[in-house]
Amino acid sequence: MKAITVQSEPLDIAAEQNAVRGSDAGIGALVSFVGLMRDINDGAKVYRMTLEHYAGMTEKALAVIVDEACERWPLAAVRIVHRVGEMQPTDPIVLVIVASAHRSAAFAACEFIMDYLKNRAPFWKKEYTAEGERWVEQRASDRDAEGRWINR
């Protein structure tokens, strides 16, 4: 299973995990990452957020990321769900689920996918704070995190 969805509806984490597990008794490890909206960013209280994306390219970019993970590790399933539109603090923004026979592949692939997604998938966040609205700047740590994988 390789499946990617970009949606404005809230994420149903439990339903997605159950769908990935299915009845595949060869899966020994399921690693899930949930990225959640925080109420503080760069020192300012954030009230809400709008997530914009490049429809069409987003799905292609995520498919490339998933294919690359499947080439590097023996995976049984990969599922990505990314939310777009209006969000509030504590809302899940992104869900990445990776299933494999053993845990080391599942952990590595899940982190790899998130590191790539942060650098390669065309999403942009705009935050609303007491001082007004602002576009979120890319973190240097996200650029560095992707660099880790290039020579592995």
Partner: protein, 84 residues
């Protein structure tokens, strides 16, 4: 014709989510297209002249300044991505 698209901060700076542009030899590469757009003056010059990081995708794949362009291409300009 080429379809040009702007996202995020760029869309707001240019007050445009995109435009159709006649294809010409001058816009035969991403670099050429950028020069053409900047020659319009403000707000294009400030938004696209390289002082801020601008990324580009051609036909929905990440590209660079030297990427060649052809008639019918979809070219998107945007700031560094911040999803996840």
């Amino acid at each position: 014709m080429m379809q040009i698209i702007y996202f995020g901060r760029l869309r707001e700076q240019l007050q445009s989510s995109g435009e159709k542009l006649e294809y010409s030899a001058k816009s035969g590469s991403v670099r050429g297209l950028l020069e053409q757009l900047c020659q319009r003056g403000e707000p294009w010059a400030s938004a696209l002249d390289g002082r801020a990081t601008v990324l580009v995708a051609v036909n929905q794949e990440m590209a660079g300044a030297e990427t060649a362009l052809a008639d019918g291409d979809e070219v998107a300009f945007f700031p560094p991505v911040t999803g996840g």
